[in-house]
Subunit: 325 residues, 4 copies
């Protein structure tokens, strides 16, 4: 029996990727789509390659009072707007919020699905992690869990493709001509993902993450996040790899590799790749992690969370290999 | 019951995409992979994101005398090498040759699946069209079939992403630094795809294609082919669109659009998008077509052909929406 | 003695390139800059790499009544706005209008500097050709001049980098994530550059260009225009090359090459590269031309025109080799 | 009077950029070019946009015994080959070695021109810094000089465009299709630039740099290096900026900016942009630096060094504004 799914925020990149994954999901049926910029259009006008059975679905203006019967709603709205937008969704509708408003908010589970799947099962309100936390925490969790690094010593140098800046932004800084062949750090010492990361690091590692340093960079590519993370610790490379292999044993979406990971390995998939390089003499551990910011960093993780709360196999609809090259 | 599938040429881009599609196919089981550059590696070393059940498959050196039991073989070898490489494959193994050696060769059906599916069903040796013919002929077939254009008047200005040049080429011209921000025509008046296109145009349109003009261009992007085709004809835009809608009615993979098609609409899919703009006063018809050169232009079309010759639904394993953005 | 130069439209890509060329020009002194989006900023805030002597120049809001003493003004304003904006500039100020409003307008010379330099010298109002005409006409002029092709047979398939769409456009279609890995035709049968091209073709060739076909394409790169032009004619490749070498003998900025030209050859320069491939049996001549849309297609050509009207060497400030790779 | 210049390694990216800069230099005359891959070609065959006066120069096979009369030689050879290749160049020929073999070698000055110009003047053998050291040390020098950071605490997260991998590499990893949309760390804990950086940090800062951490990343763009550097120190952002402004007061090529620098600011120029963000409470200083890896990171710096050893103005031939966008 299929699960009736809605998506709000379908005009954006995260909503579009959610649409793609829902369309290919064996148990989900997309029955409702809402989006500011494309309300009134049929789905095929917005996404010319959408499967034929969905082509005629008309995109609505979001109105929680006028929803059709839904089992599940994916929300991909700009941070700052989803709290209000989702407040009046009926309690019978499960929600996975890809946006930022419900992370570490009462009543919402933090959907770091590869680390804490048991906390997600059985819930009805899931706050999806941000793309940077998704990448970063996946690499750090085994090290923190095994006390291989000091929680207060973490420096995250993160790099994201430009779809991470969202689609709405009609800003010439994100225009092709200005973004191409350009690379820059931004949001130094005050990115919105920091509190979420600090809090999760503390939960994982039993120590204060007050010293957390996080520097995001914008890279001229569409998709992909790479986090290069510098920590203090005495473990060897082998011990770090072993910790990660143990931590993620039997888990479907995290791959531990000896070679440094590359963003293209993950494109279009829900996979995360983690690797480590350590120098015990210098008490240095470098953790590296790659995700697709729209996959594991957004819609892929959201579908994984939806599978968990719907009692489906965790991997349903997420088994496709990455697109390469 | 699953169909036992092999891929030869898995190190290249076409073979890699075939692997991705076979891995996600509901009736195919990948049991054999061969490739020059990666023989001896496990599949997961070459493709770190490959599904876990395939990770341990060891890539072999191609040896038709040492094949395991196979039902179906995809070959993606450099043009000029597949005729010999495939000559000794047992007759019981169905073959779809993505390479160029068997197009319009006795005993091999020309696998233009959206146009002549009936000629493919029941066969065991299929020569997949080249990526340029796949794009071009899909747009032209309805016009030629309805005699809306003169077969002798066709000028094809085609543009391809750089994966179309293949992977083997360890040529600095295809290196990132020299290809990025660069656009060029090549192979003027003598591209290898010309005879195949001329012959097919003649079959479709009842007239000589001796005047065919074809100019390919290399565009700084990884995937995608766009053909812009100039023809003499008196049809209106509406008549061309209508002819295409009729021609492809009920067909799964060709989308007729009023807006000019964009390569990104097709990325990662087996879709072709065709559109037309005509000016009867000038007796001009412009046909446009977009495909993913590794999808409809190679591995997608190959899987569609394999479905047809294996008696499976034509769309099996090919229903995923394109990756966007 | 230096020439006092102003630029209006300095926030855009054309204006920015004019600034770069003026800054490096041996006889020009930039004394005035105006721009909608950046009025009030110092030049170094907008262009962090500007030479130190210009860093403090404050960008003004355009007001023709409040100009400082100027000898020469470059205008790079959106088409449709420059006619009014420039109407009240004092007659003593020479103007080169990079925008589209004054092409083939009374009192303004059409600045196709490599073809008709003598018509430009001594004038005070120059309308710079558009980037597509600059590329196209440079390749066609020798053929038309020698009557090697039929003026009524010309089909122009043109491709431009995305800076050609301008900077102002806060349109997500030109955003990196949507433009990257995307290629599309646009403006079919009705691009704004067509009348200008048809008129110039007629002046060059002595026949009607009513049949002109022009299809522009947007290519995922920042800079560069390539025109591939299909014409009816009986000349050989050698005759076309020879005609071009003769036509441009002694001219500094047009290079005639045997190999098909590549956009990267021209990046950052005022050069145009033209080449030809012909098949007399099919009465086919293919002309190809490459320019940097911001160089020969905009600011480079503008400086060349300015040199001509200021009595300077035509190549002053334009002698730099292209940036490669 | 012009200085007679030769370039060896002109087929590579560094040699090509040296050619561009020499061609535009007011006092340099290019009289000799040698290169493995292009020996026997005229310069215009290799570089179609080369100024006309240089077009006919024939590229030679390198032979130090058969040099014409030269005043100055730029060498841009693969690391490991220049020591031998340059050993027999006559002492009367000044050499700037862009390659890696002569850094911190007896008899060769280390050409960090913005930091130690006085050590370069009057010398005849200059070892140009690598592109990563050029970026990194420029940002660190003021902090180390003023003892604002601990030399043992430095973590360098560096990112380079793909031209940094050189041209020779006929390696499909650097091919467009595999490099585009891909981002990766490499050479962890053992990059060849490390000893050079550690040694220079020690000279600048009076303490051991044994703890130096350096992680380079390959970014899908042609040109540009960005270094994001994490250090322990108690300075404020303002104090760091002020130290850099003081350190580089009167110096032409280093710009200190309050906004985080972007690689596109430097494209095609010899500029370096440095900025800082500090949090004294966490004893954290982040230094950032941007250069064009072929400009300040190679050929631009080389010309600056050549100016210094030839007694020319340091900025000769290097005054052009960066190419944008």
């Amino acid at each position: 029996m299929s699960i009736r799914v809605g998506i709000v925020g379908i005009s954006g990149f995260g909503g579009g990727e959610a649409m793609r994954l829902v369309a290919g999901h064996p148990s989900f049926e997309l029955v409702y789509a809402a989006g500011e910029g494309s309300a009134g259009s049929r789905l095929a006008e917005r996404f010319p390659g959408v499967p034929a059975r969905l082509a005629g679905l008309v995109i609505e203006k979001w109105d929680p009072a006028a929803l059709p019967k839904l089992d599940l709603l994916f929300a991909s709205l700009p941070t700052g707007t989803s709290a209000e937008a989702l407040a009046r969704v009926p309690k019978t509708v499960k929600i996975v919020d890809i946006g930022g408003d419900h992370r570490y908010v009462d009543g919402w589970a933090y959907g770091l699905a590869d680390v804490w799947p048991a906390e997600i099962e059985g819930r009805t309100r899931i706050a999806n992690p941000g793309c940077f936390p998704a990448a970063t925490l996946t690499a750090l969790a085994p090290l923190l869990s095994d006390r291989l690094i000091e929680p207060g010593s973490i420096i995250i140098d993160a790099k994201t493709g430009i779809s991470g800046a969202g689609r709405g932004g009609a800003d010439s800084r994100f225009g092709y001509a200005e973004s191409n062949e350009n690379l820059l750090p931004y949001g130094l010492l005050r990115h919105t993902h920091m509190p979420e990361m600090a809090r999760t690091i503390e939960r994982l590692g039993g120590g204060s993450a007050a010293g957390l340093v996080f520097t995001p960079h914008l890279v001229p590519m569409t998709r992909g996040v790479l986090a290069t993370i510098y920590c203090r610790g005495r473990a060897t490379t082998g011990e770090c790899l072993e910790a990660a292999r143990r931590f993620y044993a039997g888990r479907a979406f995290v791959r531990v590799t000896e070679a440094p990971p590359q963003t293209k390995w993950a494109t279009g998939s829900n996979l995360a790749f983690v690797s480590y390089a350590a120098d015990p003499e210098r008490e240095l551990v470098i953790a590296m992690s790659v995700v697709d910011n729209l996959g594991k960093g957004a819609a892929g993780q959201a579908v994984q969370n939806a599978n968990l709360i719907c009692g489906l196999p965790e991997t349903a609809g997420l088994e496709g290999a990455p697109v390469w090259p």
